[in-house]
Symmetry: C2
Subunit: 240 residues, 2 copies
């Protein structure tokens, strides 16, 4: 059966969606490669109207249409039980939900409060009004105010990293000795700044989160390391 | 083999250690009841010198001595593989480590910044200088300063609860459909305020974390609900 993934598209075809990265890593873990990846801009709602909702990523696997990164992971686990497990059983799936809640409710906001302006630079020009309006509504600040205050976010950011750092000091992956979907949730989240910003979120040197991120970049034939981002193409963010 | 648990003892024999609660819940999950629970005050270091370190809880199972709540859970899982699993497999164990890091590095501090004075009231008088000195060193504030600022901690506390709340809105336990050690980690942490303070950490009514806590209080024949705390005996904290 043909697999199609609908993925958010930024400026110059950059693909920075943390949720799409989670889905791409989940597919790779199952040994599946999408036959087609369809790029979708924020405002191209017509392109994904078939899914009955307005957000990417969306997985289409044969006659199944599955929006939402968490639902995609659960679908893949059920539909491909003979391939490597994304959750390692029911308890692992339950706890991955907690990691998902931490990534969406804590980590993503902590990153946004530092690099949202950089992301904005990588949003396709046709989507910028939409992005500004929705994000400023969410944060109650302008993108420029967020940018200008980002140094002040450092103590809160360090606190946010605490549980990741302590875990990855004790074991190589969040899931233990080998990565599972919980690692992809957090790595997908870190792909968002990686593709859009030069701002140093993780300290150089001996940081356990940075070392884990390096291991994650290498997985699945370097899927994440090969991602096109500002670094290679644009150099937009350094001067932010 | 005889099982002995060394557990922190507060004023009037109150048992408020979050780490001891984790160990007691882990034992109960395995269907094991300690033959003896030995109370240990903070400053009774001589009583636990045999363990080669200075903290409770300590599990002694026959000729094995295991300090540290996380190590106790891992030991029980390995030593009693035929009894109900505490982790649900390797991925579950890996992710429980993340929950442990969240509980110790985020949740416990968030609770302390609201109820540390109440805990102090429940520390045995012989331990109070020790408790004040070590805790004030950790927080960089006096216990009274922490108490007087606790209303100001509310927004940070709500943020800390976010991932718990989102997870427990989606499923009955952190581990999914049934509780495992990850639930005990967080529940043990909540037993600390339950035994020492009347301060309302969770909203009345429809809160998913409160509803989960009620379910946890009922587990293992109401082990946690039966705990003696300030509520039944002392009424110390209400006026804090």
């Amino acid at each position: 059966m043909a697999i199609t993934l609908y993925e958010l598209q930024g400026a110059k075809d950059i693909r920075f969606s943390p949720y799409a990265w989670r889905a791409k890593l989940a597919l790779a873990h199952k040994g599946l490669a999408p036959d087609e990846i369809v790029p979708v801009k924020f405002t191209e709602k017509d392109k994904i109207a078939f899914s009955g909702q307005g957000r990417t990523p969306i997985l289409v696997d044969g006659d199944k249409t599955v929006p939402d990164s968490w639902a995609i992971a659960c679908y893949l686990e059920d539909a491909y039980p003979d391939r490597p497990s994304l959750f390692g059983g029911e308890t692992g799936q339950g706890l991955a939900k907690f990691v998902n809640a931490y990534a969406d409710g804590v980590l993503l906001g902590g990153i946004a409060r530092q690099i949202l302006w950089d992301v904005f630079q990588n949003v396709d020009p046709v989507d910028r009004d939409y992005f500004r309006e929705t994000r400023q509504g969410r944060f109650g600040k302008t993108i420029e105010e967020i940018r200008d205050n980002r140094a002040g976010e450092r103590p809160a950011w360090e606190a946010i990293l605490t549980p990741l750092r302590a875990t990855l000091k004790a074991q190589p992956f969040l899931s233990g000795e080998a990565p599972t979907y919980a690692d992809y949730i957090v790595m997908g989240t870190f792909m968002w700044p990686r593709c859009t910003s030069a701002y140093p979120l993780l300290p150089q040197g001996d940081d356990p989160v940075r070392a884990w991120r390096e291991r994650m970049l290498d997985l699945h034939a370097g899927l994440c390391r090969a991602a096109v981002g500002y670094e290679e193409d644009f150099g937009l963010a350094e001067s932010a």
